[in-house]
C-alpha cells in the first residue's frame, strides 16, 4: 500500500519558485525546532523532579537509609519514620481495585464490541467515559455519604458471613477501609480500562472472528478463543493504564481508606497509601525531618511507579511476541 500512495518525491521535482521553497523549508525547520523543544522539555522536567525529590529527601535518606522501606513506625513527634504500611497500602488498594475493575470493564468492552445492539454501543461507551470526567473529590464525597453506609450496612456483613473463613474478610467493620478504597478506585479506573480495551477489541480484524465462526465456534467461543487472545497485549496495556491511575490516586482514597499507619490482613481494616500520606501531612508538616520523610515517600512512590510500569511492560512484551493487534495501543 505504501508503494502505491507515496509519491517518488526526489525524482519528480515540483516546479515552484526557489524563494517559496526556501520559505517552506525554513517553516519546516521552525516547526521541527518547536517539536524538538517540546519533546526535550518533558524528560528535563522529569529529571528535575527526581532531582528535587532526591534533594528534599536527603535528610531522611541519611537518617533512615533503606530501612525506611521496611520500618512501620510513623511518629512525627519523635521524628521516627518508616513507609512500609504506606507502600503496602498503595499496592494492596491498587490490587483490590484491579481485581474488581478488570473483569468488569473487560466484560463491558466485550459486550459492547461483540454482542450489544448497534444502537446502544455508542451511548453506553459515552456514559462510561463520562465517569472519567468526575473530579476525584466528588468520588470521595460520594464514597463517604453513599458508598460507605451501604458497605457497612449490607455488603461487609454479607462478605463476613459468607467468606469469613478467609482472613481477608474478618475483624471489626468500621466502614472506612482498604476494601472501601479499593472499590472507589475500581470505579475510577473502570472508564480507562474499558475504553482502551474496547478500542483494542474493535481493532481485531473481522477475518479472525469469521474464521472461528466458520470452524463451528459459537459467538462465545469465538470471543474467548480468538478475539481476546488476539488483543491480549492491548488489554494488558489497558490494565497498566488503570494501575497507574490507581497507584497515584490521592483524594478519594484518603477520604475512604481510614488513614491508619498499620498493616492488617483484613480488607475491613483501615490502611493508608503513600499519596494519601503526602497529601494529608505535607501542608502542616513543620519539622525538617518530617518534611524530608514525606519527600522520601514521594521519591519511593516514583520509584514504585517506574518499577510497576517497567514490570508490566516486560510482561506485555513477553505476552505480545507473536501477536499483532493492539500493541499499537501502547
Amino acid at each position: 500500500m505504501t508503494a502505491l500512495s507515496e509519491p517518488d518525491a526526489p525524482t519528480q521535482p515540483i516546479p515552484v519558485a526557489s524563494a517559496s521553497l526556501e520559505r517552506a523549508s525554513r517553516g519546516d525547520q521552525i516547526f521541527r525546532g518547536v517539536l524538538t523543544l517540546g519533546a526535550v522539555t518533558i524528560p528535563v522536567l522529569l529529571g528535575f523532579l527526581v532531582f528535587e525529590l532526591w534533594m528534599g529527601s536527603r535528610l531522611a535518606i541519611d537518617k533512615f537509609g533503606l530501612g525506611f522501606i521496611t520500618e512501620s513506625t510513623w511518629d512525627p513527634v519523635a521524628e521516627v519514620f518508616g513507609a512500609f504500611p504506606l507502600i503496602f497500602g498503595t499496592l494492596l488498594s491498587s490490587v483490590v481495585a484491579l481485581a474488581i475493575a478488570v473483569p468488569l470493564s473487560l466484560g463491558v468492552a466485550i459486550y459492547l464490541v461483540e454482542f450489544a445492539p448497534k444502537s446502544i454501543r455508542q451511548p453506553v461507551a459515552f456514559l462510561i467515559g463520562l465517569l472519567a470526567a468526575i473530579p476525584s473529590v466528588v468520588y470521595g464525597l460520594w464514597g463517604i455519604f453513599v458508598l460507605i453506609p451501604i458497605l457497612r450496612a449490607s455488603v461487609f456483613p454479607f462478605l463476613r458471613d459468607s467468606l469469613g473463613f478467609l482472613p481477608l474478610f474478618q475483624g471489626p467493620i468500621y466502614g472506612p477501609s482498604m476494601l472501601a478504597a479499593g472499590i472507589i478506585l475500581a470505579i475510577m479506573i473502570m472508564p480507562y480500562v474499558m475504553s482502551v480495551s474496547r478500542e483494542v477489541l474493535l481493532a481485531v480484524p473481522n477475518t479472525q472472528r469469521e474464521a472461528a465462526l466458520a470452524l463451528g465456534a459459537t459467538r462465545w467461543e469465538a470471543v474467548i478463543t480468538t478475539v481476546v487472545p488476539y488483543a491480549r497485549s492491548g488489554i494488558a496495556g489497558a490494565v497498566i493504564l488503570g494501575l497507574g491511575r490507581a497507584l497515584g490516586e490521592t483524594m478519594a482514597v484518603t477520604m475512604l481508606i481510614g488513614n491508619r499507619h498499620e498493616i492488617a490482613a483484613s480488607l475491613f481494616a483501615p490502611g493508608y497509601t503513600m499519596a494519601a500520606a503526602i497529601a494529608n501531612e505535607f501542608s502542616e508538616a513543620v519539622g525538617d525531618m518530617h518534611l524530608s520523610a514525606l519527600a522520601y515517600v514521594a521519591f519511593l512512590l516514583f520509584v514504585l511507579t517506574v518499577l510497576v510500569n517497567a514490570g508490566a511492560r516486560l510482561l506485555i512484551w513477553r505476552v505480545a511476541r507473536g501477536s499483532g493487534a493492539g500493541s499499537a495501543a501502547l
Partner: protein, 353 residues
Amino acid sequence: MFSPTMRLAACLSLLTLGCGSGERRAEGAATTGRPAGNDAALTGAGATFPNPIYTKWFDAYAKETGVRINYQSIGSGGGIRQFTEGTVDFGATDGPMNDQQIAAVKGNVLHVPTVLGAVVVTYNLPSLGNTALRFDGATLADIFLGRITKWNDRRIAALNPGVTLPNSDIIVVHRSDGSGTTFIFTDYLAKVSPQWKRQVGSATSVQWPVGLGGKGNEGVTQQVQQTEGAIGYVELIYAISNKLPFAHVRNQKDRFIEPNLKSVSAAARGADLGPETDFRVSITNAAAEDAYPISSFTWLLVRRDNPDSAAGGQIERFVTWMLRPEAQRMAADLHYAPLPVPVIELVQKRIAG
C-alpha cells in the same frame, strides 16, 4: 485569578505610571481604580482555621482603605515555611513557632494573636438524647490512648452520674491530615496526662495509638455521625454550625464547662501574659474559673524589623485596624471567640512600641 491578557491589559494601561513592580500594582489599580503609586498589596499565607474571618477582614479592610491583602490558606506549616523563606509579607499559624524555627529567622518575628479557637469532643451515642456528656482530661487521654475501650467504663460513668451509658466499644476518630486542631487537642492532652505526653506528645500530626483517621473536620464528623459509639474532636465553629453534640470538659478549677465563645474568651483572659510576653502562650488547661480548657490563640506572624519598611507599615496599620471593636465583632459573627480586652491592649502596646 487574572488571565494573562487581563494582566497585560492592566499593565499596558499603567505603562505611563511604570509597570515596575508588575502584578501587584496592576491588580490593586485594576480593582480599586486608584493610582498605582499609592496602594500596595500585601501577601500572606498560613493557617486554614481562621481563613473565613481573615477573608472577611481583608475584604472589609480593602473596602475601607484600598489596601489589598492576598491570603493563601495553605496550612500553618506552610505559613511558617513561607514566612521563614521570606516569600510572603506575613504568615499565619495555629501553633506558635518553636525556638528552633525562631532561630531560623534570627528572632525577627512577632506572634500577633488575632482570634481564639477551641476544639470540642463530639460523639455518637443516640441513647443519650440531648444530655451532654462530661469528661475530664485524664479520661479523654485514656480514651484516645485506647486504655478505656467501653462506653460504660466506670471512669466515664463516674463523671456522668444519672446517665445510662451503653455497653459498646468506643471507636476513636481523629484527624488524618496535619492540622492546628490536632495540635490544640494533643497539646491539651499532653498537659493533663503524663502518659500521653510520654507516649504520643503534641504536634500537628502525631502517631495515634488507636482509631480511624478522617480528612478534615468534615471527614471526622462524617465518620463520627455514621458510626454508633464513635468519639472524635472537631473545631468549635464547625461543631456549632453543623449542630453536632459536644461534651462539657472539666477545667483546672474542677468545673464542667460548655464550650462556647464566652468560655473560650475566658480562657484567654486567664492567660499568663506579662508585659514582655512574645504571645506564644498555650491557653489549653487555662486556670480561669469559667475557662473552657481546650482553647487556643491563632496568630499572625509578622517581622519585628521589616527590611521593606512600606510593607511593615502596611501590616502595622492592618493589625491596629483588626484590633478595633468593629473588627473583633465581625469575628464573633462568624463564631470566632474575640480577643479579651487586656490582650488587645497588650498587642496594641507591642505594635506601637
